[in-house]
Symmetry: D2
Subunit: 429 residues, 4 copies
C-alpha cells in the first residue's frame, strides 16, 4: 500500500482555490452563535464543490455541522474545525481584512474579526475533505467532519452534544472512535506539533461583585470602602498561585478587570472584578475555585462588607488532555510525512496559550482524542523577533487585532495534518 | 441703641414669600458655571423685590454677582452664598423636587439637583438682604453680597477674584474688611454653629493613570498587569494616613474610584484611579501630596510599569480656617440672639464634612473671615436617628439625592445668622 | 490672704538639695513592681527630711505609697507621682547616668533607666511636699501624696486601688476630692501646660499569633504560609485608621513587631505580631478592638489558617480626660503664677505622646482630675531643633536611651505646678 | 557477556553488614564541613573492608573524599554520595536515633540529625563499591567515588572543585566521563526513578534588611515603619510567581522568615526578611533575581526608607538538569534490572523537592550527568496515606525530624542503582 505521506501528497488538491476561500472566510467573520452564513458556505462547499456524497447535517447546537462520508468498514474519525469569530477590530491592514460589524448577544454592535484563526481551521478542513474524497479508494471507514460554532464562548461543543448530535433519536451522528482537532498558534508558520497529555489548560471565567456602602470621599468612616476591599482581594488572590498550588503545575489566576466608581469624590457601593482561571488538572481546578471563594469571602468579611460577594460564572472550558496512544500514532504519521527539520514537526510543541472546548466532542462519548497545533507567524517575522529576543512581545497572538496566519505554508501544513491524521486510522493497510 | 438681636427680629421679612422663592430655586438647579437663570433671578430679586439701591454687578468670573449697598461710613462686610447645583438625580419625592437635566462641561446630559443646599444659601442671603435694607437706619457701612458660582468645582471664588472682582480697573468691588459665609449641613434643623480655627479641610482631587501592558489573561508573564499594580498602590496609599501623618490631624486620603478593563480574559494597558485628599493644615497638605507621588511612583517601579504614572489634578479647595477674632465677635452676637439651648447655637460645631472655596474671597485680599454652619435635617428625623444611634448611616448628607433641608426653621436661622453676622460689624453703637 | 503664687515663691525650698536627690533617683532606677529602694527612699525622705507629721502608708498595691498630711477642715487633694523605671540602656553620657541592671518579671537581666522622667516626678513631688508643709498655716484640708508603682505596665494605679487604698478596712486613705498629676515631656524646659478634655489617649497592647503550617520553603503548596498571612494582616490593619475611624479623632493602630521563623529555607508554623492601639474616646476604643478582631480573624480565614488566631492582651491604659472645671481652676492659678510668655504656661499644650494610668486613682472613686505636662528638653536643644525644623526627629523622647530632662528650670516648674495646683483647692481664701 | 542486571544480582554483597553500617552513620551525624569522623569512617571502610586497591584521596575541599579504582581501559564514571547532616532534632524514636549535638559554624550548639538521608547515600555507595570490586573482571575503566561534604550549604561540590580535585597539580582526580548521583526522597520505598531534563531546581537564598526608623508605637508620624514596609514587600513579592514568570515553569519565591522587633510599643529600625528562590532554568533564575531587587528597592522607596535595602546572598544551588543521552542509557539499564511494576522503576519520577549541588562535580569539567531518585517511605505508611489522600501532609519529608528511610528495600535499590548505573558505561560488552 502507498504510505500515508504519499497519499496526502498525491491527493492534496490545488490550494490556490482554497487560499481564495480562506480570504472569503477571513473577510466575512461572524460572532459566536451567529455563524449562519459561514455554516451555509461550508455546507454548500462540501456538497457542491467537493462531493455530493457528503451527508451534511446542519443546525446542530445552533449553527453546527456534522458532515459524514461513509466509506465502508472501518473506524469513524472525527475531524473538527471551529467556525466563529471575535468582537475584535481588525488592524492587520490586509487587503482581505474584515470590515464587518455585528450586534453581539447583548445587542451591542461590535467590530468582528477572525482573530483566532478559525477561518484557517475551516478552510484547511474543507481542503482536507477534498483530499480524502480524492483518496477514497485507499481508505476505509467513516469520515466525520465537525464544524463547531461558539468555541470562543466555550459553549459550542457542549451545545452540539446537548442538541443530540450523537443521539440516535436526533442527529444520529455515528460515535467517533477517535477525535482530532487542530489550532493555528503564534509559532513559525510551517511548524506542526503535538504533545502528549496536557495540550490546553482549563479556563474558568467569573465576575464577582464586592458589596460596600458608598458615600462621600471625605467621610471614610461613614462608608464601607469597596475600592480598598477589592484592592486587598486582588492582592490576596495572587497568593493562590504563589503559595497554594504545586509550582510544577501550570496555573493562572488573573483578575483581568476591576470597576468601581468613576468620580474623584464619590465612592460607589460596589466594586466589580472579573477573573480568569487556568489549570492543568481537575483536582487543581477545583482547589483553585475553592481558594478563590475562600479568599474573596474572607476579604469581604475583613472589610466589613454589607453582604457576601456575588459570584457569576461566565465561561468554562474543559481541560484538553491528549490521549497517549492516539498521540503516539499521530507522532509516527507526522514524523514520516513532515521533513525532518526542527522547523517542521515536533512532538513537544508548547501548550496552547488559550483553552479549548474541542475535547467535549470526544469526552461526551468517552472517546480518546488528540489536539495538534501549528504555527502561523510569517517566518521572517518569527526569525526577526527570535533574533531580537522579542518573540514574547512582538509576535501578535491569537485574539489580537494584528493576528493573522501567513496563508502559506500554514494552509498546506493544516490540510496535511488533518488528512494524514485521519488516514492514520482510516488508511487501508 | 437697639441690640442686634432686636434689629434682626424686628426687620426680618415675612418668610412665606422666601419659602416660595426657595422652592423655585430648588426646582430650577443649574450646574457649575451654567448658573445663568439663577444669577438673573437673584439680580432681579435684589433690584426689583428688595431695593433699587443695590448696585448689582453681574458676570463676575462667569455668572458671579457682587451686590453692593453703600450705607455711609463704616466697614465693608461681605456675605457670601454659592449658587451652583450638582449632577445628582433627586430622589426626595418632594413636591418641588427637581426634574432638571443639563449638559455638563463634557456635553453629557446629567440630572441636576440642589443636593448641597445652595438654594437655601441663596434664599437666606436674599432674605437677609431685605432685612438689612429694612434696618438701614440702624447700621452704617457697606454691605457686599457675593453670589458665587461653581463652588462645587472649587473654581468659582478664584474665578471671581481672577476676573477682577476687587480690581479697580475691572469690577471695582470694594475690599471687604470681614467676610462671612455659611453652609447648611446634616445636623438638626434649628442649630447654628461656629468654630474657631479649622472649619473645613482642604480638598485636592486628582486622577492617576498607571501604565502597564495589556494582553491575554492566560499569559501573565507576557504583560505588565495594571490591575495588580493599582491594587497594590491603593493598599499602600492607606499607609499615608495610618503611618505618616500626625494622628491628631484630620487627614483623609481616599481612592474614590478605579477603572481597569472590563473583560474577564483581556487585561488592558492602563488602570485609572481617582483620589480625594483632605487635610487640616498647609504643611500636611504638601506632605500628603509628596507622599502620594512617592508611593505611586514607587509602586509603578515595583510593578515594572512601562512608564511613569500620569497625574492630572482635577480640583483644589483651600483650607477654611476661621479667624479667631472675627469668630469671637460672632460668638457673642449669636449667643445673644439664639435661645440658650443646646439645640440652638454652639461655638463648637463639628467641621464641615466637605471643603469650601469661600475663603478665597477673603484671603485673596488678606482679610479675615468666618464660615458658620447650620443644620437642615428635619428634627424628627434627627431625633429618631439619634435615638437609634444611626445618625451616621441614616441622615442623608450633602450631595445625596435624598438630601434636603427642612425649610423651617432652617431658613429663619440662616437669615438671622447672615443678618446678625453683618450687623456685628455694621450696627451703630 | 497672700496669693497662691506668693505662697509658692515664698515657701519653695532651696532646690539644690533636690537636684542631688534627683540625681540619686536617676542613678538608681528600678523596674516596675520592684521599686523597693525607691519607695523606701521616698518614705524616709518624707518622714525624716520633711516632716514627721506625714502619715506614710507603704506597700499599697506592691510598692505604692500614700502619704497624708491632715491640716484641718477642707478638701482632700491627691498629688501623684509615678516611680518606676524602664528596661532601657542609658546612653545620655550624664555623670549621674544609670548603670543599673535588674532581672525583669521573666527573670531576664535588663539594663534599667529612668527613661520616662519618673525620677523628676518623684523629686518634684517631694519638694512640693516640703513647700506645702512650710506653707501649712496658709492652707487647710488634707494633702494626699500618691507615689505609684508600675505605671509603665499600666497596672500600678489599678493595683493600689484593688489593694484597698481607699478601702476603710484596708489602707483607708481618704477619698480625694480632686486628683492632680503631671508628666515631663519632650518640650522646651520651662514650659508648663494643661489642656481640657483629652490629655492622653487610651493604650491597649496585645500579642496575636497567626497559625499556619510550616514546612520547606521550596514546597509552598504543602504548607500554610504564616509569613504571607501576617503580611496581609498587617497591611489590612492599616485600613482601620485610614478608612474606619472618624479622621477627626486621634487614633493609632500600630503593629509594632512581627516574628516568624529565622531561616531562609524553613517556614515555621506561626507568626507572632504585637499591636499597640491608641484612641481618644471609649466608643472608638471598642470599635477599633472589634475591627482588629474582625480583620485578623478574616485574614486567617482568607489564608486558610489551621486554626483561629490566638489573642493575648498584654497592657491596657485608660483614657486620660481632664475635667473641664478642675482644669479651668488650674488655668487661673497657672496663668497667675507663671510669667506671661509663650515659653511658659499654655492652656493648650499638646496631648501626651504616650498613655497614663493616673486617671484610675480618680475614676475608681468617681472624682475629677487634671493631668498637666511640662517640658524637659534643654532650651538650647529645643531652639536649635526648632530652627532646623527637626523637633520631631532630633529631640529625644520619653523611653529613649537619650532622654533626660534639663534639671533646671524643669524641677522648679514641676514643684511649683504641684504646689500651686494643690493650693488652688487648699489655700485659705 | 552477562547482563548488567545479572552482574548486580550476583555480586551484590550481603547487606546485613551494611544495615549496621547505615545505623552507625545515622546515629553519628555531623554538620556540614565538620564531617571528620564520617569521612574517616568512609575511608577506612573502603581501604580496610572493601579493597586496599582503592586510591583514597581525602581532605578535598575540607572533608571530601575521592576514591579511585583503576581497572583498565575505559571510561571514568563518577558516583557521588553527599555526607553531611542537618541541625535538626531527631524525633523518629528509632533505636538508632541520633542524640548528637554539635556547635554550628557560628559556635551555637545544635542537635544534629541525618534528616536528609545522606547516611543512606554513603552506605549504599560503599556497598555498591564492594559490589563493583567483586565484579571487577566484568568491567573495565575507572571507578571514581566522590564522597562530598557540605551539600546542605550548597558549597561542598564547589569546594572540592575549587580545592583542585581535578587539578593535575593538586588532587589530580581523573576527569569523569559521566557523573551519577542519587537521592532518597519521600516516595514509596522500593521505587527508583529518573527523569530527563530538570531533576532539581536551582536554589538561591538571601537575607534582606529593610531600613526604617524606629520609635514609639504611639507616634507613627515620627518614624518610618519597617513592619509595614516589610509586609508590603512580602505581598508584592508574591506577584513574581503569580504575574511575571511563565506559568509553565516551576518557580518558587518564598519569604521564609521575617523578624522586626519584639515589643508591643516599640518599633525597631529594621525589618529582616529571608528569601528562598527556586527556578527551573537559567534565564528565569536571573529574571527572578532582578524582579526581587526591583520590587524590594521600590517598596523601600514607597515606604520612604532611610536607605536602600541591604542584600546578603547566603546560599546558591545550581540547576540539576539531567543529560538526555546519559539518562536514556540509564533508563535502559534500570528498565532491564528492576522488575516491571509501577512500584519499581519509573522514567518519570517527580523532581526533587529541594535542590542539589551535585551537578557542579560534572559541569565544572563540562561533563554530562544524571541524578536519580529513590523512595524511602515505608510502604505501609505510603499505602495508608495514599488511600487517605494525605501523602502531601502526612509523609515526613527530607529535613523533617521525623524523616527516615525504611532501611529495606531502600538500601538494596540504592546499591543496585549506583552499581548498575556505573556498569552501564563500564561493563564489558
Amino acid at each position: 500500500m502507498a504510505s500515508i505521506s504519499k497519499l496526502v501528497t498525491q491527493h492534496r488538491p490545488e490550494l490556490t482555490e482554497y487560499l481564495e476561500l480562506y480570504q472569503y472566510f477571513h473577510a466575512n467573520p461572524e460572532l459566536s452563535n451567529q455563524e449562519h452564513e459561514t455554516a451555509a458556505h461550508i455546507a454548500k462547499h462540501l456538497k457542491e464543490k467537493i462531493s455530493s456524497e457528503f451527508d451534511v447535517r446542519t443546525g446542530i447546537g445552533g449553527t453546527g455541522i456534522a458532515a459524514l462520508l461513509f466509506n465502508g468498514e472501518g473506524p469513524t474519525v472525527l475531524l473538527r474545525a471551529d467556525i466563529d469569530a471575535l468582537p475584535v477590530e481588525e488592524r492587520t491592514g490586509l487587503p482581505y481584512a474584515s470590515k464587518k460589524r455585528m450586534k453581539d448577544a447583548d445587542g451591542v454592535e461590535k467590530p468582528v474579526m477572525h482573530a483566532c484563526g478559525h477561518d484557517m481551521h475551516i478552510t484547511s478542513l474543507l481542503a482536507a475533505a477534498e483530499l480524502l474524497v480524492s483518496a477514497k479508494s485507499d481508505w476505509s471507514g467513516t469520515l466525520l467532519l465537525a464544524f463547531q460554532p461558539a468555541e470562543e464562548r466555550g459553549t459550542g461543543a457542549r451545545a452540539m452534544v446537548d442538541d443530540g448530535m450523537y443521539s440516535p433519536e436526533k442527529h444520529a451522528v455515528p460515535i467517533p472512535d477517535i477525535c482530532l482537532g487542530g489550532h493555528v498558534m503564534p509559532h513559525r508558520a510551517g511548524v506542526l506539533g503535538t504533545r502528549r497529555g496536557l495540550a490546553a489548560t482549563s479556563a474558568d471565567s467569573m465576575r464577582i461583585t464586592l458589596h460596600g456602602r458608598g458615600g462621600h470621599a471625605s467621610q471614610p468612616h461613614h462608608l464601607i470602602d469597596p475600592v480598598v476591599m477589592a484592592a486587598s482581594t486582588i492582592l490576596k488572590l495572587q497568593t493562590i498561585v504563589s503559595r497554594e498550588i504545586d509550582p510544577s503545575e501550570h496555573t493562572v489566576v488573573t483578575v483581568a478587570s476591576i470597576q468601581a466608581g468613576d468620580a474623584e469624590n464619590i465612592i460607589v457601593d460596589d466594586a466589580r472584578i472579573a477573573l480568569d482561571v487556568r489549570t492543568s488538572n481537575a483536582a487543581t481546578r477545583e482547589k483553585v475555585k475553592r481558594s478563590i471563594k475562600r479568599i474573596v469571602d474572607a476579604e469581604a468579611r475583613a472589610a466589613n462588607a454589607v453582604k457576601e460577594p456575588t459570584y457569576l460564572v461566565t465561561r468554562n472550558f474543559p481541560l484538553t488532555i491528549n490521549d497517549d496512544e492516539v498521540t503516539a500514532r499521530l507522532e509516527q504519521t507526522f514524523r514520516a510525512h513532515f521533513p525532518e527539520d526542527e522547523h517542521n514537526y515536533t512532538a513537544d510543541i508548547p501548550m496552547l496559550g488559550g483553552s479549548e472546548d474541542f475535547s467535549i466532542l470526544a469526552t461526551a462519548v468517552g472517546k480518546p482524542y488528540c489536539f495538534f497545533m501549528y504555527g502561523g507567524t510569517p517566518q521572517e517575522v518569527w526569525d526577526r523577533c527570535e533574533a531580537a529576543g522579542t518573540l514574547g512581545e512582538e509576535v501578535p497572538i491569537n485574539h489580537s487585532g494584528l493576528f493573522y496566519p501567513a496563508m502559506m505554508p500554514t494552509l498546506r501544513v493544516a490540510v496535511d495534518a488533518y488528512a494524514a491524521g485521519a488516514l492514520t486510522w482510516l488508511a487501508k493497510k
